[in-house]
């Protein structure tokens, strides 16, 4: 088994802060130019070479991405982080393929503010587009230079030379030159060209195959792979002291008494920020529990406890017209209007967020599992009043984030403690109730749709309005952190801005991919946030696709048409048609048994953001009418993510997306009263367990050789939610439009049995 395991020696530690090597990726002045990471977090790095593909636009020099050592081994640098989505393995395959090296001779270095290009946030299903595209083309450039070097050496034409896939360049007469020898004669400190010859997809040796993920062996055997597993020499354990949830504070914490508890080394205080530092983790927890016995109070305005739909709709809006098209069309014969919604939901990471920080020799090093390593680098520097070149932020894996959970805030917390305790490594992990109480939630959303069908059974008009708070509140300066508001001199809070389409945030995927006439799509952007919210996997696409794909079924049903045929009649994009056809063929859609009160089938489709991966999901459910419980018997899904880097990597992400979306859609809703959140553990915020997950999930990845990469990490969230509601409607005739589709709601809607 291959393994990636982390170890830290004292020497690493002492040099960690000083390893800021000056090389070609330090040209990261900020500019609004490309939407790295799908527009989340700070603006992408400045574009200096707009003709180049992917993140090469900002970092055109080859040695920012790839170095070849004298033994012919390659080290590849990506600004994207391994979140458990398998990106490090996928990018490793991309690099090996385009370098034409055995994968075993390629190493990959992930997001590190001192070593890798700043590719923005690892988000928005952008890692393959941003980094995969850059690495593929950088590797193709490197291979081209190696071949050219050999041609010069042998005085023959470049066209006569090949690479052997084993690390050598080969002439027709059999002469060999290994990469290491050739690379030592070359400088890779040169700019990429945009049309370096790429490997022929028909001859791929590594890409598009399934290689075992590099990080899994350590995860199965107790290897030290997570930031939670870091143990630095002399490290102390910290816990942050806060009220039970956002907008609350402890009234009169007895810090003196806590400071006298066993093992407690220090109480770090800075304004309202407070943290306990102890020798052992359990001692830190015991001191935190002691402090938490004191009463707390709400210190902000009350939370809205009436209907969340009403709460959202009465907020001031900034209206954005997403689409307003006018076409000739026949008169409407039948119209359907409906309101769909989702309440606030949690990221719900299994491991509470954690960070390790060390302030030594005037420099801060932060090990973080945030998706926003480069924003953490800059924004925490501001928080602790150090110049950014005295701060280094290194991504280390943690429990999955699925957006902005506590990972960013805990990094700021750890750094604030570490700066107060020089030369002492600090490991700070949030408690379970702190993750539930303080993480930014996935925003509640409401949509209202109205669509009309003409005499020919086709749609003649389509209206979609969506109300949503901003989804992009990832901290890009110190004011964005909880701690940034707690320190003695709080930092200003930046005004919120929507992400422009086609990425969008609350309006993500509100523009149907279907060819529809007379479309009017309005985003009611709600800057005033009653609950703390930020990015959750797929942003607004979960609710917008749920709405559109539910409405497509409602229209098909109202006009007596088959839901698949109705969709295909309105879809021109051949790749969209192909995934719908593939998924329904695998499912056996044409031969399905019509809904009979206890069984039903439904489908959902979307192309993520209309510029990302295509995904169709089809499912069969069983409905227990006596209890309202829905059991998903099987799911078939088809995905077109362009050229797959790792087929099984895509399958794993989409399977996971389907299971996670089913949990969101059937059972999740954050509970709160007017004072505080009351979902603070897994009993107050149940998610799917093994007895709830589908009988089977099959994901089919379309091959698409040589087509541009389209990230697949979020493609299934919307289609799955809609497929479930559509299957329920097929089974029972009952249409539920308000998530979560809980047994109670289903039972109530079914009425007397």
């Amino acid at each position: 088994m291959r393994s990636e395991s982390l170890s830290w020696s004292r020497r690493d530690l002492l040099t960690a802060g000083g390893l800021v090597v000056a090389f070609s990726c330090l040209s990261s002045s900020r500019a609004f130019s490309q939407l790295a990471g799908g527009g989340e977090g700070g603006a992408g790095s400045k574009v200096v070479a707009p003709n180049l593909p992917g993140s090469l636009k900002s970092f055109p020099l080859l040695d920012a991405w790839i170095r070849i050592d004298p033994e012919g081994r390659a080290t590849v640098f990506t600004g994207k982080a391994e979140l458990g989505q398998g990106i490090a393995t996928a990018l490793w395959q991309v690099a090996a393929e385009e370098l034409d090296l055995p994968a075993a001779r390629v190493e990959i270095v992930t997001a590190d503010s001192a070593r890798t290009p700043d590719e923005g946030v690892t988000s928005g299903s952008h890692s393959m587009q941003d980094s995969g595209t850059a690495i593929a083309n950088a590797a193709a450039n490197v291979r081209m230079l190696l071949v050219a070097e050999a041609a010069k050496l042998w005085e023959i034409e470049v066209a006569q030379i090949t690479t052997d896939g084993l690390g050598a360049v080969v002439a027709p007469d059999g002469r060999h030159a290994d990469y290491g020898t050739l690379a030592s004669k070359l400088s890779l400190h040169v700019s990429a060209i945009e049309d370096a010859p790429r490997r022929d997809p028909n001859r791929y040796r590594t890409m598009g195959r399934t290689l075992p993920r590099r990080d899994i062996p350590a995860k199965l055997t107790g290897g030290a792979i997570y930031v939670q597993d870091m143990r630095l020499p002399g490290m102390l354990h910290a816990r942050v002291v806060r009220g039970p949830s956002v907008g609350t504070a402890l009234k009169e914490a007895d810090f003196d008494a806590a400071g006298r508890m066993p093992g407690v080394v220090k109480i770090v205080r800075n304004g309202k920020f407070a943290a306990i530092v102890a020798r052992s983790e359990w001692q830190a927890i015991a001191a935190l529990r002691f402090l938490q016995r004191r009463p707390w109070q709400r210190v902000e305005r009350p939370l809205p406890v009436d209907s969340f739909v009403d709460a959202l709709k009465r907020l001031p809006t900034r209206d954005i017209v997403v689409l307003d098209t006018h076409d000739p069309a026949g008169p409407a014969i039948h119209s359907v209007s409906a309101r769909y919604s989702r309440p606030w939901i949690c990221h719900g990471s299994i491991g509470p967020s954690c960070s390790v920080a060390l302030f030594a020799h005037g420099e801060m090093t932060i090990w973080s599992h945030s998706q926003s390593i480069f924003d953490v680098h800059r924004a925490v520097a501001e928080l602790i009043s150090l110049p950014p070149d005295k701060v280094r932020c290194i991504h280390v894996q943690g429990s999955g984030c699925y957006g902005q959970n506590g990972a960013d805030d805990v990094s700021a917390d750890a750094a604030l403690v570490a700066i107060a305790m020089p030369d002492t490594p600090i490991r700070l992990q949030w408690m379970r109730e702190q993750e539930f109480g303080w993480e930014p939630l996935g925003p509640a959303m409401v949509t209202e749709l109205e669509a009309s069908i003409g005499a020919d059974g086709k749609i003649v008009a389509w209206k979609h309005e969506v109300w949503s708070n901003p989804h992009n509140n990832r901290p890009i300066d110190a004011g964005g952190y909880l701690a940034g508001q707690e320190v003695t001199t709080p930092f200003p809070i930046r005004a919120v801005e929507p992400i422009p389409m086609p990425e969008g945030d609350g309006d993500r995927n509100s523009n149907p991919l279907y060819a529809l006439p007379n479309m009017r799509v309005i985003y009611h952007f709600l800057p005033d946030m009653p609950l703390r919210v930020s990015a959750l996997r797929s942003l607004g696409a979960h609710v917008n696709v749920f709405s559109i794909e539910s409405m497509m079924d409602e229209l098909a049903r109202a006009s007596g048409q088959d839901p698949l045929a109705f969709r295909l009649a309105h879809m021109q994009d051949p790749r969209a048609r192909a995934v719908m056809t593939e998924a329904t063929n695998r499912f056996g859609w044409a031969k399905r048994v019509p809904g009979d009160g206890r069984h039903g089938c439904g489908m959902g489709f979307a192309r993520y953001k209309n510029i990302g991966a295509y995904c169709a999901t089809v499912m069969e459910i069983e409905l227990e009418r006596e209890t309202g419980r829905i059991t998903v018997r099987r799911v078939e899904a088809a995905v077109d993510a362009g050229q797959p880097a790792s087929i099984d990597g895509i399958r794993n992400q989409v399977e996971g997306g389907i299971v996670q979306s089913l949990s969101w859609t059937t059972r999740e809703s954050v509970a709160f009263d007017d004072n505080h959140r009351t979902s603070f553990d897994w009993s107050g915020y149940p998610i799917s367990r093994f007895s709830d997950v589908p009988g089977g999930v099959n994901v089919h990845v379309l091959p698409q050789p040589g087509l541009p990469f389209l990230g697949a990490g979020e493609a299934a969230q919307g289609p799955t939610a809609a497929a479930l509601a559509n299957a329920l409607a097929d089974a029972s005739g009952v249409r539920l439009r308000e998530m979560p589709l809980t047994p109670d709601k289903v039972k109530t809607a079914l009425g007397a049995i």
Binding site: K219, I225, N652, E655
Partner: protein
Amino acid sequence: MTITLHVNGRDHTLEADPSTPLLYVLRDDLELNGAKYGCGLGQCGACTVQVDGRAVFSCLTPIAALEGRQIRTVEGLGTVDQPSRLQAAFLTEQAAQCGYCIAGMIMRAQALLDEKQHPTEADIRSHMDANLCRCGTHMRILRAIRRAAGLPSTEGF
């Protein structure tokens, strides 16, 4: 107090408050990474280890209750180079995404397989219900357990 814990076939004598949950002794004193802090409430299973063969939540089990008992963590099953049958099945099925829950999943599944050589699908699902996964890796975890148990890989109820 001084306490001797028998972990993965070895005795470890250490000084600790008897009320300390096993999880923190495993992680901080014995430097074992497998058992994870997830909730501290016995609701998620990320901290699952075996005690005398049974799956327990190490976050809720004070060490005072453990003298003389056989404690096994994921590190006691196998290594990267020599994985156990169950670990190898997880590897074959690529049954992890972020993987934070996985060591706990493996230990709970091991307890089932130790007790029942040929569990049914219903046995597996019901036994595994105590452990949470947020990445949605459930289908792969089930496949891995079926593989280790020698059951057909076909899914469905």
